[in-house]
């Protein structure tokens, strides 16, 4: 019997945490020393927001196997909810006085509010939409996204309170999304999706994608799990919206058009539906690349759409397929390789 080297699960958690800490430390040092300019720090935050958007859409699209086209709608709801809350708090004054630590509890509340509001909309739209399949779900979620946008454009006050300011936009939002906050939230979101998927609940979600009839035959409550995954996906999109509001400082309904939903979908599809690692990678590349290739910005959307079509025809499983990155597995492979080679030499 060959004995294999395996890393115990708790150790792999510590290992991953350590790696993430080292990455954070490296980027923080580069920011404070000015290697990463303010401009690029902004791009890093945008990448973070897009990672949250892509991984959360991947949950509904790659893992659950549905095609929601209203992800930008959930993002919008979360963004407005978080922004309106933060505007009502003394966060702006605190940030101006440099007291960022005091903003933290306010931010936590804002994120929770964003997630909850987006989640409630997720339930409202998910329960009717998930009774329908495939294309119908796509068109209903698309319709929902448009309804949200039209409502945000045309309503500026509710019961006499100035709220969303309609098409003019919601401005002067406290800019609470720092790089640290964004980095932490990205890790948190990925952690939540990962732990959810690697559990009995996640397996139930996968079974629905694989074969709904068989899933029901082994007693999986398909409606419950569809709604759960859909709502979790919506909540995380709401969190991304909250981060976006705190980064950009002013919100316009036109930001959350159908186009935005498609941009997120492109990331998920190119990365590989059902691969979290693929979504993260695609979010990074598709956010950073246009910045590097500014000169070609006119062609960006053409290239995106062409990539989408070519990908579907020639490599429908996406760049990563359903491969998921695991540090634990890689280290085990390397160590076992070394052990085997030594044995061979002996």
């Amino acid at each position: 019997m060959k004995k294999k080297f395996t890393i115990p699960t708790p150790a792999s958690y510590v290992l991953n945490a350590a790696i993430l800490f080292v990455i954070w430390l490296a980027i923080s040092m580069m920011i404070s020393s000015g290697v990463i300019t303010n401009y690029w720090r902004g791009i890093l935050i945008t990448i973070g927001i897009n990672i949250v958007l892509a991984t959360s859409l991947n949950l509904a699209c790659g893992y659950l196997g549905q095609l929601p086209l209203g992800h930008a709608g959930f993002m919008a709801v979360g963004a407005y909810a978080g922004a309106i809350f933060m505007k009502a708090t003394p966060a702006a004054a605190l940030i101006r006085s440099g007291n960022t630590l005091a903003v933290l509890p306010l931010f936590v509340v804002a994120v929770i509010i964003s997630a909850l509001v987006a989640g409630i909309f997720g339930i409202l739209i998910g329960i009717p939409a998930l009774r329908l399949k495939g294309d119908y779900l796509a068109i209903i979620t698309l319709g929902f996204g448009e309804i949200i946008r039209v409502v945000l454009t045309n309503i500026d006050s509710v019961l006499g309170f100035k709220f969303t300011y309609g098409a003019a936009g919601l401005a002067r939002i406290p800019k609470f999304t720092s790089f640290n906050i964004c980095y932490f939230m990205v890790i948190l979101c990925i952690f939540i999706i990962h732990t959810f998927m690697k559990s009995r609940h996640g397996r139930a979600v996968l079974s629905i994608r694989e074969n709904e009839i068989a899933a029901e035959s082994v007693g999986i409550n398909t409606t419950f799990y569809k709604t759960s995954a859909f709502v979790l996906s919506a909540m995380l999109a709401g969190v991304a919206g909250c981060l976006y509001a705190g980064y950009i400082g002013s919100l316009y309904p036109s930001t959350f058009k159908f186009m935005k939903s498609i941009e997120i979908l492109v990331m998920v599809v190119l990365g590989g539906m059902g691969s979290m690692f693929g979504s993260v990678l695609a979010a990074i590349v598709l956010t950073a690349l246009p910045e590097l290739l500014r000169a070609f910005s006119d062609y960006r959307m053409v290239v995106y759409s062409l990539a989408l079509v070519l990908m579907m025809i020639f490599r429908p499983e996406g760049l990563m397929g359903d491969y998921d990155f695991s540090l634990k597995r890689i280290i085990q492979k390397i160590v076992n390789g070394i052990i085997n080679r030594r044995k061979g030499n002996e």
């Binding site: 939540i192 732990t195 959810f196 690697k198 559990s199 009995r200 609940h201 996640g202 397996r203 139930a204 996968l206 079974s207 694989e210 074969n211 009839i213 068989a214 899933a215 029901e216 035959s217 082994v218 007693g219 999986i220 409550n221 398909t222 759960s228 059902g274 359903d322």
Partner: protein
């Protein structure tokens, strides 16, 4: 006298004027292997769909261990103890063999979404126990070595076996097998017969199977029900069925018409 697991009384279903099953009654006892046979289009799979709640009967009752299942959905019937396999294999293809079985165990696990996200002790405990149980169940069918393979990459025979394992993971009282030997060669069919007997002996459940392979049906079924044009035309032991003139006519008579 062992207890009755499944009892059907005058099941009937009508789709737009046609009745694929017009009158179906059966009783299956614990530790019994019962067979359901009949020519193509006799309504056998429709019976399974009625038992599992895929279709709602127009008339009649399905009683599982004394409980009337009227109004139960497919999901509720699975929880109540009815498990099935499918004529055209329906595995979770892009998921590992082990996970296929674990999905079957889902209902017997109870940790919440919160404990899975926070990785609470209950999560670790239940996952560990379920994994051990699943591997044990796979080893009964000599499949423990395949646990990590994607179900879709298994050879055909193993896929059929995995479907049975997944059904057993739901801890059923009644197992419905829809043409388990379809597409198998004689050697595989013989092995399958052993497997089915083993299931009955080790799991103490009632088995109802649909099959066209008469060597299998006559070899392992204790009781056989024959269906033709949606109606039960005969029932009895294998030897009784083999000599029943109505059954012979149903099979051969339909051939003569062709």
């Amino acid at each position: 006298m062992s207890k009755t697991v499944l009892k059907c009384e005058h099941l009937r279903v009508v789709f737009g004027g046609l009745a694929p099953v017009s009158d179906f009654s059966i009783e299956v006892k614990e530790n019994e292997i019962a067979g359901l046979i009949g020519p193509n289009g006799a309504g056998k799979t429709t019976v399974f769909n009625l038992l599992t709640g895929v279709y709602v009967p127009t008339k009649g009752k399905v009683i599982l261990e004394g409980k009337d299942l009227e109004g139960y959905s497919t999901i509720q019937r699975s929880h109540a103890g009815i498990a099935r396999t499918f004529q055209n294999i329906r595995l979770f293809k892009n998921v590992s063999v082990l996970d296929n079985v674990l999905i079957g165990y889902n209902h017997s696990m109870s940790y919440s979404m919160l404990s899975s996200v926070l990785r609470l002790p209950k999560y670790w405990r239940e996952e560990k126990a379920a994994k051990a149980k699943a591997l044990e169940l796979l080893s009964v069918f000599d499949m423990q070595g395949m646990a990590k393979i994607k179900a879709g990459n298994l050879p055909y025979g193993a896929q059929r076996r995995l479907e049975i394992v997944r059904a057993l993971a739901t801890n059923p009282k009644l197992l419905l097998l829809d043409e388990p030997a379809a597409g198998m060669n004689p050697a595989e069919t013989t092995a399958l017969m052993e497997t089915i007997r083993k299931i009955r002996d080790e799991f103490n459940i009632a088995i109802l199977l649909i099959e066209h392979d008469m060597s299998l049906v006559m070899g392992i079924c204790e009781n056989i029900t024959v269906l033709n044009f949606g109606e039960v035309i005969a029932r009895g032991t294998p030897s009784e069925i083999q000599n029943n003139p109505t059954v012979i006519e149903a099979y051969l008579g339909s051939k003569r018409e062709e």
